[in-house]
Subunit: 179 residues, 2 copies
DNA sequence: CCTAGCATGTAAGCCGTTACATGATTGG
DNA sequence: CCAATCATGTAACGGCTTACATGCTAGG
């Protein structure tokens, strides 16, 4: 229900192509919203058909042609409406926690391996965030953030706090399981 | 892809009815895996058709009839196979963080309200977990946990750690936004 | 009397994944 | 020469949501 609005948000910030939007999902946006490139192109087509976006075809000679999407008044209205709606309830899905329940079919060492691997993934994530924090948000820089940069900073902080919590949990879990 | 396995896990622990499984999703399982009752009934039908489950019809006089599902050898094999597969990558979806990006269309006070409300929701979740922790896992009780209870304890701890991280983030976010 | 609990589903439609598809240019 | 980057999609299928549907009993 919301990929639509994520895309509208991105194009509201600046007109862009499907390719650029996909780049965002692979990089920074991907940290808090996942989407595949196929899904993005399908959604763009839908948003064009419902007149939330307009599309300008731009031929290129050395590279494949581009389609540059811009948001319409109708699209901006839709986005504004959505932003003011209250948040739907979160739908938790954590496979590792499900696996923990299947006690006797998954041996302890295999389970610990999986937790370990998940922890490594989170550590990697955390390192990336910490790197960004160091690069872009020194104490000095933090004093002069624009409204948008401030909000980006807050997003990154959530990435850090959640990754840290995941890591703390993994450590604790392994200790409890192996004692 | 995994509701199937969540249900198999539950029925592997003990034969049950669709109604009971739905109760689990509304209560403890719901903390880390969401599913609607329609989805559960549909999945049960599918699992029966593919011979992962058998079904015993049990008429009742004072209440509606029941269908008691049990796991088959094939079902257990499928579950075991799934448990040994490596975890798929997590797909993050956090609407609040998307809304933070749409700077100029959502006024600061509205945004803060939404963060506040999300924080209250997390606080409620945390309180529930802390209540369970107090009831079921005193220091004394923790010494004598069965293998399964230990794993349940670990699950609850994740609920606590993540809820705390969400709360810490919300507090920090509100401060940053309002300074 | 009305609500909550017990107990089960079907149908339509949208959302998301997986597989398939093309083809030029640039840099190592 | 090979891989990566640029740039776009279609088709089939499966997962999940939303709306609709039924009907009895016990308790306040």
């Amino acid at each position: 229900m919301s990929l639509k609005h994520v895309i509208l948000t991105l194009i509201h910030q600046a007109p862009s192509t499907g390719y650029e939007i996909n780049k965002s999902f692979e990089q920074k946006i991907g940290y808090f919203w996942h989407a595949s490139h196929q899904q993005v192109y399908q959604e763009l087509a839908k948003l064009k058909k419902t007149e939330m976006l307009t599309c300008e075809h731009k031929p290129q000679t050395d590279k494949p042609d581009k389609k540059i999407y811009s948001i319409t008044v109708k699209g901006r209205d839709e986005l504004r409406k959505w932003l003011h709606q209250s948040l739907p309830e979160k739908k938790y899905k954590d496979i590792l926690l499900v696996r923990l329940l299947s006690a006797d079919l998954l041996p302890l060492d295999k389970l610990c391996e999986q937790i370990q691997k998940a922890a490594e993934f989170e550590q990697h994530r955390l390192d990336e965030f910490l790197h960004i924090q160091k690069q872009c948000y020194s104490d000095e820089q933090k004093k002069y953030l624009s409204a948008l940069d401030k909000r980006l900073f807050i997003n990154m902080r959530k990435g850090i706090l959640l990754a840290e919590a995941e890591l703390a949990w993994a450590k604790e879990a392994l200790e409890t399981l192996q004692n």
